[in-house]
Amino acid sequence: MPSATAVNKHRPSELLSRLASDDPEVKVRALREVKNQIIGNPTKKLSFLKLGAVPAVAGILADSIDEVTNNNNCNSNTSNILVQSAAALGSFACGFDAGVQAVLDAGAFPNLLRLLANPNEKVADAGARALRMIYQSKLAPKYDFLQQKNMEFLISLLNSEKENVSGLGASIITRSCETSLEQKALFDAGILRKLNSLLGGGSLSQRDASLESLATIFRNNPEVISKFAGPEIGRPLSSIIDLVKDRHPRTRLLACMCLIVIRNASPHFLQDIGIKSKIIHILLELLDDPSQVGDEAPFAFSSLIAQKEDLQKLALEANAIDKLYHHLKKGSLHPRRYEGILLALADMCSKLESCRSKFLSLQVLNLVADALTDHNAGVRTAACVCLKNVTRSIKNLSAGYFMNEIIVIPLVQLFPDPSTSVQVAALGAVSNIMVDFTTRKSIFVQCGGMKQLVQLAKSMESAVRSNALWALKNFVFQADNRLKEGVFSELTASLLSSLISDPEPSVQEQALALVRNLVDGCINLIELVFAEDGLILGAIGRQLQCASKAEIGIQGMYALCNVASGNEFHKEAVIQQLFTQMGDKNQSFVIKFLQSNDCQLRTATVWTIVNLTCPSSPGAPGRLEKLRNAGIISQIKNMVNDPCVDVKLRVRTVLGQSMAFGDN
């Protein structure tokens, strides 16, 4: 047993100095000790890394390889050194990105590749393993499949009988294959056939590695998939389908993931309801697995059902929500698993009311609310997304089911979260909850939520700004005057006008929509756009002149439309905006909008003209004249038979109103 002094012998710095010894036996022993200290121990990996162990070991590897090349022979000492140094480098790279980077920076990569050709099996194996570890990391060097030489090398790797070597080939594909061009090149080189044969005839790890590589080659590539699954190559999909029932959980998961990739790229495959149900069933069952397989299963489930109502329905019938709830209840979940289950629930509730009802009936809501305070940002984000999707339930929103302290307060507490994705997701959930037709919106003000939203509207992140405005927009929708005035005084005219002119189009759109909702319904509130010398009104006009997308035009026109529903002064101000901004452009943006392909934009614009020319206002004839001179009335005349009913009706109103003033 090692004594106290022996423990000191293993101190990192002492070990490293022994690495530099000239005596090969001392060197080998030191290498082996370094390796044994770092394997399984992330803390030690880091401390050795900081002491410069990686360049030292890489240097030893390089020297020994040179020796082998120069002497054209590899004696047992040198072999040992090669094996131990490769194993040490492999361990540094295993699951440790800083280690991978250090190994690459030390120039060890080409030397590890050279080990693959070494006649000594253990040496080649150690090299293959180390390279495999590197290729599991995102930092691995990109492999250029399109070069003939490289493709041949890859094929030679896959053809090897040694598991680690063929495994390396598969890892390279899984990591580096990205474009459809590369996918096609791999197909053309016969790689898929090779991988398929490993599915049937290979060992467990070869099967698993092949499944991952196949999924990578199939991803988003219907052409490759149909070539692979075409009748002339037997029934290859059946080999993957069979593996879905394999005894090993990881194989089942990878087989499901491969089929899901296929189905997402080519929906006409795997139409059979039986196979869809089977995959759903297996993924839900895998939730029971305590290892990483169980952690990843919910993510695979999400990728299967996301955006697909038919699969969500099938999953609902398979009691997916109950099962996910059951696992959520267990508590003490690994953060990855926790996040996955929450996102799976979110995807289930994304479209179908039946799913949301099931979710709410099981009282899952409270558990999800708990997750809002988890210390992992991914979990918090997932909980918010889940709430956002569940709160799409109009039935329950109308009943005010969600406007309560249990949900609202933790969400508001996430507003200042350090993670942007958490903020955006929380804002999404709050935006839905704000669509509340009861009178309990004051809860939100009381807990400081409204003020915080305004703060977030000033965030550096555009996604946060636009989502905060979205929430405010919903908050003031058909709200009472007091609430609206409260929001406006917190926002201030200058902030709101600068948001209307924000560099980001999505922010512009939401800011304009917010104004639209603020001034909607009450004539007193229209005054808001005139505050501080008409800051807001001016901003609206300028933004409409250079609107980069239809949605901005729609919201801005409706805002103007609402202002134009006010008194004479308001209408005059609006028409001034329509023309002032023309500048060198001869054409008012109004004509551009009236000629737009977007029917909503045409509708909004015509509505505004309706309000500007309504006969009860004394200034209507004068405004009509201006519109006529700008060619707007004739443009509208051309729209008498607009394909969109709303447009057609309002066009007739305008024309009717214009005739009331005589001249046609």
Partner: protein, 226 residues
């Protein structure tokens, strides 16, 4: 009130059994599978020579695996770790739970040998960081360290950690991990077969009285109650 069950006599039963055909090679494979998985290298070698049955795993790797298992069973955990890493450096690098249990066993051995100072240093340097990363590791670490608090370790609540059974548990865990890394089943088939037999008999019990196997080790048929 008993529902009447049909009775099958011994003669009838044995006749039915005789009609079922089992292949010799299947039985040989089961035996080989048992010997290989449990790690009886020499027996496996001999059996291979005498029966001509090929093992589904390289017998050389069995010796290596057995050396690791033995080292743990003897309390030489550091040696075991070195051997595992020579065999396959990935096993402990990708198996945090196993690695933790091996380190925990090292700590237990240090405590068993009265090397208190070294034990504390080891716990602090090697195990504490793992405990920080994982709640259940932390709990197990605390349990282990609490051994130091007791005068009479054989009677304390965590005394079972010092038991030989703890070493066997760890050894078995390492054995299973090595087998899995070699793409081999970690459990032999024979126990599953026996379980299946017991289950099938229980099912049959509901409908029939028949000669049962009550003692698996002798596998003798015991006459049904008349």
């Amino acid at each position: 009130m008993t529902t009447s069950k049909k009775t099958i006599t011994r003669d009838e039963w044995e006749k039915r059994l005789n009609d079922v055909k089992i292949r010799k090679e299947d039985m040989n494979k089961l035996v080989m599978n048992f010997l290989v998985t449990e790690g009886y290298v020499e027996a496996a070698e001999k059996f291979r020579m005498e029966s001509g049955t090929e093992p589904d795993i390289d017998l050389a790797t069995i010796s290596e695996r057995m050396a690791v298992k033995k080292a743990v069973q003897c309390g030489n955990v550091e040696d075991a770790i070195e051997k595992v890493n020579d065999l396959n450096p990935e096993i402990l690098d990708t198996n945090p739970q196993l690695f933790f249990h091996l380190q925990q066993q090292r700590l237990i051995e240090l405590i068993r040998n009265g090397k208190i100072e070294e034990a504390l240093e080891f716990a602090q340097e090697e195990l504490a960081p793992r405990g920080e990363e994982n709640q259940s590791f932390l709990e197990e670490l605390e349990r282990t360290v609490s051994l130091l608090a007791f005068e009479d370790v054989s009677n304390c609540p965590v005394g079972e950690l010092l038991d030989i059974s703890q070493r066997l548990k760890t050894a078995s865990e390492v054995n299973a991990a090595i087998l899995t890394s070699q793409s081999h089943e970690k459990d032999p088939k024979l126990p599953s077969l026996l379980k299946m037999l017991l289950w099938a008999q229980n099912q049959l019990d509901e409908k029939f009285d028949y000669p049962r196997i009550n003692d698996l080790s002798s596998a003798t048929l015991e006459d049904p109650a008349v």
